[in-house]
Subunit: 556 residues, 2 copies
């Protein structure tokens, strides 16, 4: 039987983090260590390398996710190891997993098989405390808000128009909607409130888009927490919160260094939701990696229609990043599902289904071209894949001028991605990339949404109620230059999660728009968006424990 | 003008924590470092020193607190430095400050003046993440509980009888009483709920009383989270929570090592509330310190009527600790307040008021004798103190056979406590101590409460409604052997906070009893108990920020 992820992780021969750091040019005394295998970088060091030349930036994205699994993080790690293996200096830049979901369905999120980052248990649990810091900073602002109302409400906050909820890093449906300040005079004025999971906090998005601590502090001030009865916005700075919030975040904002199973350096830092936020690791980590490596491999949330689009149009646009190549991850099994096969039948060869499902992949390849960045497809190998099925994928890709390369990192680590690594280097070094966002800043918000819907999702139009149109028109005045952040189901190009493959001609209903003034984007909601998950009937937590040797069981 | 605490802390010449560790016999490779100046100890190391002889244990406690301030933590640190200064191997064992209150009234809590532990900013903020871990472990259990109800409530939890609230490390009155699970079917069954601050979590008390990770895990299982309609208790283990909760706490449970301004070792670990819990740092930290030092100086919350009594009757009883000496901290100013002087008049000499106020001190000295441990009084010096006032205190102490020694650690660090240190060594080495808890395990609960009230508080009786008496009688059956944990105002020997000095003959009303089955004690509530503080009109948070040099301002 194959070893579980946690068994493989446990057998890892980790190097001291000082040694991993040294390999990429970071002196030991510039690390803030968190035990022997995790460290944060000093800002003195980060400032000292700003004159370095930037390496090449490679984005790993994927087809629309299915229950069959794609393995985006796994491929990011595998490719990073593969690049190092063929003699390139490569660093990975990944998102931090959220602690809450570990206790729900999915277990951990630090890669899988022989393509993992370690110490896997720490990364999945408290890690270096970044998410705790973000959670406290968020809840401090919440407390300051209700405290302001309690002591006389000089700012005139309309308690029906409070936008700023509270957060906890836990899947806890009971907190989605609450009434707070119950119990009498000493506890304040009862009002409706609710909790999001920490990764859905606007502070997480801000954290990941900030250039430095100063930029972070300014953006925190721009957060709109509520409105007055006259709909005048109340900012975080009106509550005098940002100073103390930045103090709480001063260590967290420094990137975390860990290693892969093959002892290559990986930065894991920040992890915003990929629906109401942009779903990428921090700008600071990506930029620092670029100063230290010749090739930086990073990832974005969900499929390319959401993840890559936001990576390009939000993160790269805002941070001035110029990606050089894109890897689109697909699996035979997932493409079969896009081709109409049920999960139970995925073990049977079905070339027709693969061909049909490859329409989903083809749409993503075509989309990436619109950003003028070259792409390659990585077929994340499973034992049941047949040659004929692989050939079907290759044919679909070649029609669009993209290579499809088998990657077996899950079973073989970096040795399984050598071919992919060579091709990625070729693409990135070719100079073909001429990154261009999909739309210019000055395009009106409505057109931005329309452009993404038609160009990326294959939709024919966007639709919205008069009230939503009015809201967009109002936002256009002061925030028309912001990019839009689409909150759409990740399972389909359309807004209907059951429409697999490559649907086209559909309408995209815009149900709601939200201003994230601190993060600097407009969230466009096209369906039901969950910002606080629940636990399943049998939560993973029930099977997580320390065994007699003090090792963690049940995290995977 | 005198330097502020944070200015003094910033000028500290900290040694690498490896060097501090080495001085007390901890090899560098047995540390889990959190940056250069904080570390946790490996359990391998802790296990390896169990054969060592124990050092002497010295408790620092105080008179009943007044708004004038006493300086218990400051004296603990100053005495530790003084002991090292006179050539003794001494380690301090202190409580971790709670992050939430930093943003309220008081600023930080890591000593003051030239008697501080550093890095002060880190200790006051996230430190090594222990409180975050405790908060998440607590909230995981909360989520599992509501999730259990949501999925069918097989255990038959009566949602009106849920005891287990949620926690956050923040002063946030709006969360004291909430209604959760609002918003419809997908969010569960609405019920009343509320938040406590993290330090009030039963997990914090458990954390501080546990011998090791295994003991911790068992105690977590014993937590009673709710009752059925038939009043049958539902335990944390019924929700299959303790395994994952222990996983979340596995790093936190290891003691944190930091240093004083004079580079002496201090363990700072755990910090339960001193009303509904026992208010002492962790047993693991205290015991580890005893294995490494000849003298361990530790502290307990509030005045000696609560803090010392609980230290003796709960912590020492449960952990098998044998304290060797007690230091009772008093100030001239605070004794004046106990003698009836208003805060505005504390600067004027008033020997009569000091003499009268010393009745409070005298009662505490007499109380400590009942535990058969020798005591000394430390007069924490202020610039306005006069010789005549000091003489008045000395006279009051001498009448009870205790010395009163001036300590000027706030201004002079360890050099200001040399005389105190010499006397403490003399007391601790004298062999006079023959520690005995105030009451035996087998004394019935009602009598335990009565004994504390009459022997320690000077009360004439305890009173309680029939319903409370019935509850005590019920608890007597299964939990009669537990110690009691008194939740009483810290400002007075009585339950009336305005009765200063040494009141006697009063009645102590028992308003409520609560079972902390995991911690292993019965909480006896004698007044309004606040387990979630609020922020003041002008929160300290409003003035906390990072200055242009990246230093924290406003934390003090």
């Amino acid at each position: 039987m194959a070893k579980s992820d946690i068994e493989i992780a446990r057998e890892a021969k980790m190097q001291p983090i000082t040694q991993v750091a040294e390999k990429i040019g970071i002196p030991a005394d510039q690390l803030l260590q968190y035990g022997p295998n995790k460290a944060k970088l000093s800002f003195d060091f980060i400032n000292s390398i700003q004159g370095n030349k930037d390496g090449k930036l490679i984005l790993v994205t994927a087809i629309n996710p299915t229950p069959a699994g794609e393995g985006k993080t796994t491929t990011t790690v595998g490719l990073g190891d593969g690049l190092n293996r063929i003699g390139k200096k490569a660093i990975m830049a990944l998102r931090e997993p959220s602690l809450g979901p570990c206790f729900g369905v999915k277990g951990g999120a630090a890669g899988g098989g022989y393509a993992q980052v370690v110490p896997m248990e720490d990364i999945n649990l408290h890690f270096t405390g970044d998410f705790h810091a973000i959670g406290v900073a968020h809840n401090l602002l919440s407390a300051l808000l209700d405290n302001h109302i309690y002591w006389g409400n000089e700012l005139g906050i309309d308690s029906r128009r409070v936008q700023w909820k509270r957060v906890v890093d836990m899947n806890d449906r009971a907190l989605r909607a609450i009434t707070n300040s119950m119990g009498g005079v000493a506890n304040g004025y009862p009002r409706q409130d609710g909790y999001d999971i920490v990764v859905a906090s606007e502070i997480m998005a801000i954290f990941c888009l900030s250039k430095d601590l100063n930029d972070l502090s300014n953006r925190l001030g721009d957060i709109i927490v509520a409105y007055t009865r006259e709909k005048k916005p109340i900012y975080a700075r009106d509550l005098k919160g940002p100073g103390a919030m930045a103090v709480l975040l001063k260590d967290a904002i420094s990137p975390n260094l860990v290693q892969t199973l093959e002892n290559n350096a990986a930065f894991i830092h920040g992890g915003p939701f990929a629906n109401i936020a942009h779903g990428c690791n921090s700008v600071i980590a990506t930029k620092t990696a670029l100063k230290l490596a010749d090739y930086v491999v990073t990832e974005a949330g969900f499929g390319a229609d959401l993840g890559a689009e936001k990576f390009f149009d939000i993160k790269c646009r805002k941070a001035g990043l110029k990606p050089d190549a894109v890897v689109i991850v697909a699996t035979v099994r997932a493409l079969k599902m896009h081709g109409g096969v049920a999960k139970a039948d995925l073990g049977d060869e079905n070339v027709d289904a693969v061909t049909k499902g490859s329409e989903n992949l083809a749409r993503h390849i075509a989309n990436i071209k619109k950003f003028k960045v070259p792409a390659v497809v990585a077929i994340n190998q499973f034992i049941t894949d047949t040659d004929a099925e692989i050939a079907a994928i290759s044919a679909a890709c070649e029609a669009l001028g993209a290579k499809a390369i088998i990657a077996s990192h899950w079973a073989n680590g970096g040795a399984g991605t050598e071919e992919l690594a060579h091709h990625v280097v070729e693409l990135a070094d070719s100079g073909v990339a001429d990154f261009t966002p999909l739309y210019p800043d000055e395009m009106p918000l409505w057109e931005k949404i329309e452009t993404i819907a038609t160009e990326i999702y294959g939709a024919s139009e966007i639709i919205a109620d008069a009230s939503v149109r009015k809201q967009i028109a109002e936002l256009q005045e002061n925030y028309g230059h912001y990019p839009v952040c689409m909150a759409k189901t990740q399972y389909s190009f359309s807004t209907d999660p059951s429409l697999l493959g490559a649907p086209s001609g559909h309408a995209v209903p815009v149900r709601e728009v939200r201003l994230s003034a601190g993060a600097g984007f407009i969230v466009v909601v096209t369906g039901a968006i969950m910002t606080m998950p629940g636990l399943p009937r049998q939560p993973a937590a029930n099977n997580i424990y320390l065994n007699d040797d003090g090792q963690i069981e049940g995290l995977f």
